[in-house]
């Protein structure tokens, strides 16, 4: 019969339409912004700087090595190194960034800066509702806007933050063990 194919297709559409009243599989619309889907843990939007503790300036992990600036594909990170040093989490005096700007209108969320950072200082945020009216400077995030605490990092990426903390603790333990063994050797020599 001519038209049979069209009727079969319409039957399919009807099955989907009436099925959407019964099965959640067939009703896939999420009415944003009243309803939101929970973001995945691995989701990445724009970078942020991690700081330990409560003071963002004292606890900032970044030592201004500028590796992320060099590796960033669209070159959206701009770092100015400080002239003095401050002690980092392991107690060693390190440089810190006097200026750390990311232009998020240029950033393409590729996450290469996170991958190459040797100090676990820059991680990916999941906040995407960042629109602003200021066309020129509004999407340029500076150091203070980028700095978020390690606790916030635990909230957004729980397993990843736990792994990072484990790695940093292991590093700290290794450095401490080395220091005590050197001190013991020196004490042994001195005695």
């Amino acid at each position: 019969m001519l038209g049979e194919g069209i009727l079969k297709g319409l039957a399919e559409t009807a099955r989907n339409f009436f099925g959407s009243y019964f099965s959640a599989e067939r009703l896939t619309t999420v009415e944003y912004p009243e309803q939101r889907i929970a973001p995945f843990e691995a989701a990445r939007v724009f970078p942020f700087l991690v700081y330990d503790g409560t003071d963002w300036q004292a606890g900032l992990r970044c030592v201004s090595c500028q590796i992320c600036e060099k590796e960033c594909p669209p070159k959206c990170i701009y770092i100015e190194k400080s002239k003095d040093k401050k002690p980092d989490a392991l107690g060693k005096p390190q440089f810190y960034p006097a200026r750390f700007d990311i232009d998020i209108s240029v950033c393409m969320s590729c996450q290469i800066c996170v991958e190459v950072c040797p100090f676990e200082a820059i991680k990916m945020n999941t906040e995407f509702e960042l629109s602003t009216n200021d066309r020129f400077g509004g999407l340029l995030l500076d150091r203070e806007q980028l700095a978020k605490s390690n606790q916030y990092y635990h909230e957004i990426h729980a397993t990843e933050a736990a792994e990072v903390d484990a790695r940093l603790a292991a590093e700290k333990a290794r450095v401490a063990a080395k220091a005590t063994s050197i001190a013991a050797a020196r004490a042994g020599e001195g005695a």
Partner: protein, 229 residues
């Protein structure tokens, strides 16, 4: 599939006046190429396409490469007649000194063709053709009459590199608009000065931003947030 040496001897057996040269490829990929001269390119291409054993009927990729002029500084030992005073007496003496001679090795534009065979399912066979120089003698014969897939790709090379393919049915710009001058993919291409605001400018862009500032305002570049000098 035959090795590149065997292919070369097969072509030379059929077309004796084809001047071929193997260009070795030092990387682990082992994809060596065959350099052909523009004069016999069309015959070589037709032979490769129609030869029963090779049957390279599928032109996969046409690439343009720009090799700019190289300045080579060589140290050359030069023997010269000189006059030296020895013990108050002037004598003719031969002295050998080292001189640094600079010469310009002329650059060229190159077209690289990757050929495969759909019938025999082998490949790639890579052909290369070089122009005489980069300025005025930039013609190469077009292989579009042999393989139709070269049509758009040769147009793109004409657009972005400037190689003129003689015998191409419709040689005009492909990606840039028709009135565009210059060839963007060349190594010495200079972007037009249509600089836009970029807060995190680096290196070259930063320098041009500061020049642009100075030129536009006629004053010294001022400090901006994020694009500090």
């Amino acid at each position: 599939m035959k090795t590149i040496e065997e292919i070369k001897s097969t072509i030379e057996a059929a077309l004796p006046d084809a001047a071929l040269e193997i260009v070795p490829n030092p990387s682990p990929s082992g994809q060596h190429s065959l350099r052909i001269q523009p004069g016999q390119a069309v015959e070589v291409a037709k032979f490769l396409r129609d030869n029963v054993e090779l049957k390279l009927d599928f032109l996969s990729n046409v690439t343009g490469v720009d090799w700019p002029d190289k300045e080579i500084a060589e140290k050359v030992k030069v023997t010269r007649q000189g006059i030296k005073t020895v013990d108050g007496v002037e004598q003719a003496v031969e002295e050998t000194i080292e001189e640094t001679r600079k010469r310009i090795e002329p650059g060229y534009l190159e077209a690289v063709y990757h050929l495969y065979s759909v019938e025999k399912k082998h490949g790639p066979v890579i052909l290369r053709m070089r122009t005489v120089n980069r300025t005025d003698q930039v013609e190469l014969p077009s292989l579009t009459p042999i393989w139709r897939s070269a049509e758009f790709q040769e147009r793109e090379i004409f657009d972005l590199f400037g190689i003129v393919f003689t015998g191409h049915p419709d040689l005009r710009r492909l990606l840039m608009w028709d009135g565009f001058k210059d060839h963007p993919m060349r190594r010495d291409y200079v972007d037009p000065d249509d600089f836009e605001y970029e807060p995190t400018a680096h290196d070259d862009v930063l320098r041009r931003a500061q020049e642009h500032e100075a030129a536009a305002t006629g004053q010294q570049p001022h400090q901006e947030t994020g694009a500090g000098a």
